[in-house]
């Protein structure tokens, strides 16, 4: 049994672009569960439920939960255990980078709860995350260090021992999900690369951290 663990960002961009039906079709093709943690649910359902502008979107995500397309992490891991692991990981991640004077708190509980679930569930899994910081921190910490040094005009130190605890996570974005859906002919639109490109740009404009160059490369691979 595999798990695909969803951070808030992909659910937000897929919802805003009316692409949630694709997620339903992908679920049928997936040999495992689509998971959301309580912390992510709070961001994509509970909080927007009280904002008129996003209430409809929140209802649509909740509908996927009701249909069992997205399953709550408590199905496999108790919430208390997940929270404990999330806090432990937050402590590590938020002390990997520091300036001369203080540690930099980079992340919050939603995204880290996805890492915690990935670590605890012990099956084959990947995290679907659109925002760049977590991915950069784990896949290419030097890039994140360079970016922050350039922006903050100060030297950033990396605690490599702490970073060592963060190996082994796999990340994809909503753009890769759409690529898979395209390859499996799960998209209602006519199967051509122009349509794929348009969908990838739609995700980009609703927050997926993907460059035009990467979109071009995905289009070429499709």
């Amino acid at each position: 049994m595999k798990s695909l663990i969803f951070d808030s960002g992909p659910l937000i961009s897929l919802t805003m672009n009316g692409m949630l039906p694709i997620l339903e079709k992908l679920k049928k093709e997936f040999p495992g569960d689509f998971i959301i943690t309580p912390q992510v649910r709070k961001e994509v359902v509970n909080k927007p439920m009280s904002i008129s502008k996003y209430k409809f979107e929140a209802i649509r995500v909740q509908d996927l939960i009701d249909k069992g397309i997205l399953e709550l992490s408590s199905k496999c891991i108790k919430d208390t255990l997940l929270e404990k692991e999330t806090n432990a990981l937050m402590k590590i991640i938020n002390s990997v980078f520091s300036t001369r004077y203080e540690k930099i708190n980079l992340v919050h509980e939603g995204e880290v709860s996805c890492l915690a679930f990935s670590k605890l569930c012990r099956n084959e899994n990947a995290i679907v995350i659109d925002e760049r910081t977590i991915r950069m921190l784990i896949e290419s910490p030097k890039n994140l260090k360079d970016l922050m040094e350039r922006k903050l005009h100060t030297e950033i130190k990396i605690d490599n021992k702490k970073l060592f605890n963060l190996f082994g996570f796999k990340f994809i974005r909503s753009s890769e999900l759409i690529y898979i859906a395209y390859k499996k002919s799960l998209i209602e639109l006519k199967k051509n690369k122009e349509n794929l490109e348009a969908m990838l740009y739609a995700l980009k404009f609703t927050g997926t951290a993907i460059s035009s160059k990467e979109i071009k490369e995905i289009k070429a691979l499709a």
């Binding site: 203080e102 708190n105 980079l106 974005r173 990467e214």
Partner: protein, 186 residues
């Protein structure tokens, strides 16, 4: 409060720019607390960034001055701005924070359309400053939480920017990430 002197300087220079009717200078000042806001995540610095940016937007929109409620709002805004400067100079932090709270609350007292417009300016200023902090490397959720805004608002704003075009963001080659996706679905 972190970098008190810097906050004080920004408040003073913003006041000078208001008197000179120079919104672009005020906007520049609003970004000068972002470094501290990113590193120390000090709420005083974050609030000043939002307030100063909002002020720039309000000053920029000259038609607001013709609307009912403007005079009362603006005079209270400026009065509390001066008080905030004076209290910060004397290192009276509690009083300073109270003044800042009053500046933020001044908009709630306007019952006309102007109140809605100014509330919207503050809301958008928060999103703008969240984006600036995100640009400096904090995660999207962390940033949204610091500014008290919705991830849904921030995601849209980030998407409209060119931030994801930077080569430095590409932490894994496209082919490798596609391979991960294919393997997990395989």
């Amino acid at each position: 409060m972190k970098e008190e002197e810097n906050v004080l300087r920004i408040l003073k220079e913003a006041k000078k720019a208001i008197n000179e009717n120079n919104p672009s200078e005020i906007k520049k000042l609003s970004d000068q607390t972002i470094h501290t806001a990113t590193i120390s995540q000090d709420s005083d610095n974050i609030i000043v960034a939002v307030l100063v940016y909002s002020l720039a937007k309000i000053v920029e929109r000259e038609h607001y001055r013709e609307m009912p409620g403007w005079n009362k709002f603006y005079s209270e805004f400026l009065k509390n701005w001066d008080l905030a400067i004076s209290h910060l100079e004397k290192k009276e932090l509690e009083e300073y924070r109270d003044d800042v709270g009053k500046i933020r609350n001044a908009m709630n007292k306007i019952s006309s359309n102007l109140g809605e417009y100014i509330s919207d300016v503050f809301r958008k200023a928060k999103i703008n400053k969240a984006f600036k902090i995100y640009e400096h490397g904090l995660s999207e959720e962390k940033t949204a939480h610091l500014l008290g805004i919705s991830l849904w608002d921030l995601a849209g704003y980030i998407g409209q920017s060119t931030i994801s075009e930077a080569k430095v963001n590409e932490s894994l080659p496209v082919k490798k990430r596609i391979k991960i996706a294919e393997e997990i679905f395989g």
